[in-house]
């Protein structure tokens, strides 16, 4: 793929590339070694910086620390995401159906709702829950995640509906299905399958955004990191951050991989190919369509 931009390398070019790669690798290793030495001199690799993960001070047990990070911290993060995701999916589906009804003036409110929630920061929505409605932190986080992602999911599903061949709808009408039957039995099942990678990518965004709970006082993973560091001492921030960031990366990268795998699996079928029509928003890598809908980031 990348070779489109340059010739299939011959022996000389290959040697040059290999030399370039080796020099680059050596430079990086040297840089890493420098950074490592610098960190070592500051005592970042000393056991007293990391023992919080295997032999914590202050008479706390290892289980307590890991429990506070994984069960309490990650648990709270996942709980917010697990409550918000189905709500966003269902409401997004309803919005998408509303947005595509055949009567123009009925469509307008749905369009307004989608544009409104797409254009506002998730954090502002959480503050609406917290300060405006006076809800507790958990409800505010779930509210913010739900209303934002339902708008994005509605747009993803609409793009999926638009990507279906016209013949599908025409055939459904021709065999006497009503508009609702056509939508529910013919169009939506195909649209959902086409857009499955984008939907999963959006769920990764939802999970990432749950970390905004840190700012509105919801005790999730980031807060667990901070609480531990404040209890055991600032010097443990590095170790706790490595653990916390690692947890996020593992969860998110697995979900992203799942999206890529689903896309590759769906790509072989017709419904997958339709979505890649050049005139439509790209369904490219994970998050492609969501980015088109103004979401992913």
């Amino acid at each position: 793929m990348s070779s489109v931009l340059y010739d299939e390398p011959g022996p000389v070019a290959r040697r040059r590339e290999r030399i370039g790669s080796v020099i680059g690798a050596v430079l990086i290793i040297a840089l890493l070694a420098l950074a490592f030495r610098y960190a070592d001199q500051r005592g970042l690799f000393g056991a007293d910086r990391w023992d919080v993960l295997y032999d914590p001070p202050k008479n706390q047990s290892v289980e307590d620390v890991w429990r506070s990070m994984i069960v309490v911290g990650l648990g709270a993060t996942l709980r917010a995401a697990v409550v918000a995701a189905p709500l966003a999916l269902v409401l997004g589906l309803l919005l998408a159906m509303w947005r595509t009804t055949s009567i123009a003036w009925l469509r307008a409110p749905a369009t307004a709702v989608i544009e409104l929630f797409r254009g506002l920061p998730v954090l502002l929505m959480m503050l609406f829950g917290l300060l405006g409605f006076g809800w507790d932190a958990f409800s505010s986080v779930v509210f913010g995640l739900t209303v934002y992602n339902m708008a994005i999911i509605a747009e993803i599903l609409r793009a999926g509906l638009a990507s279906l061949p016209k013949g599908q709808t025409e055939a459904a009408y021709a065999i006497g299905l009503s508009r609702w039957q056509t939508l529910l039995l013919v169009q939506l099942p195909q649209a959902v399958r086409t857009m499955l990678p984008s939907l999963i990518a959006q769920l990764v965004v939802l999970l990432k955004d749950s970390s905004l709970g840190f700012i509105v006082g919801y005790p999730e993973l980031l807060r667990a990191m901070q609480t531990n560091a404040q209890y055991f001492g600032q010097k443990y921030y590095v170790a706790l951050f490595v653990l916390g960031a690692g947890i996020y990366l593992i969860v998110n990268i697995s979900l992203t991989r799942l999206a890529v795998w689903l896309q590759r699996r769906g790509g072989a079928k017709t419904s997958g190919k339709v979505a890649r029509d050049a005139t439509l928003p790209p369904v490219g890598g994970p998050g492609g369509a969501a980015a088109g809908a103004g979401g992913t980031v």
Partner: protein
């Protein structure tokens, strides 16, 4: 409505900070993201490796975690980022550049194969092919997704409110906390300012997208 009249200066100064954050981080992210995209398609494996790792790491990390790193963890390395505004600019550009890189890369991939082949056939080098033929064409299909990335950046600047930067959202939160009975209205005011940026930008992206689609 008195609420808005009384607090207009606070809203406006917050809005200006939000605009500054967006403009500066956007500019840095565009430059760094384009460099990353070029690295990602380069023939040198090491450069590709760096770019892939960077993009994958930052895309799978919540923005709040990037801020958290700069504010709480970096000082442990002896790096003391200037607090507040510039920390936010660093975090936002580091995060956004990963998405810029992805948008530019998919734009490069959208340029028909024949273009690069023809460029190589007349003897252009890798740099010339990319700089004179592929990138100028890729820019057209890249602009709508890039606008969407910048819209997201505008909304993401609100995360800075959680880390001691008084931008639009933080200003609105102060107003809401000072007037608890009108908190809803105070936050709606914040929303209006965000929509002033995001909705026209979204419409622009839509129009450009349709134009590019027709041209193909």
């Amino acid at each position: 409505m008195d609420l808005f009249a009384d607090n207009l200066p606070a809203y406006l100064s917050g809005f200006v900070v939000t605009l500054q954050l967006t403009a500066l981080s956007g500019a840095f992210a565009l430059v760094w993201g384009t460099v990353l995209a070029a690295m990602r398609v380069s023939p040198v494996a090491t450069l590709r490796g760096i770019a892939v790792t960077y993009v994958e790491l930052l895309r799978n990390t919540p923005l709040t975690l990037v801020f958290f790193f700069l504010v709480f963890v970096a000082p442990q390395f002896g790096v003391l980022p200037p607090l507040g505004f510039w920390t936010a600019v660093i975090a936002l550009s580091a995060y956004t550049s990963a998405f810029v890189a992805e948008a530019v890369r998919s734009g490069i991939n959208a340029v028909p194969l024949g273009q690069a082949e023809a460029a190589r056939a007349i003897g252009l080098t890798f740099g010339q092919t990319l700089g004179l033929v592929v990138l100028p064409q890729a820019v057209r299909s890249v602009i709508p997704p890039l606008i969407n990335v910048l819209i997201a950046l505008t909304k993401n600047t609100s995360v800075a409110a959680g880390f001691a930067v008084v931008e639009l959202l933080a200003a609105g939160r102060r107003i809401a906390l000072a007037n608890p009975s009108e908190a809803m209205l105070a936050l709606a005011g914040v929303g209006v300012f965000y929509l002033i940026i995001t909705i026209p930008a979204g419409l622009l992206a839509g129009v450009l997208e349709r134009k590019v689609a027709f041209a193909r």
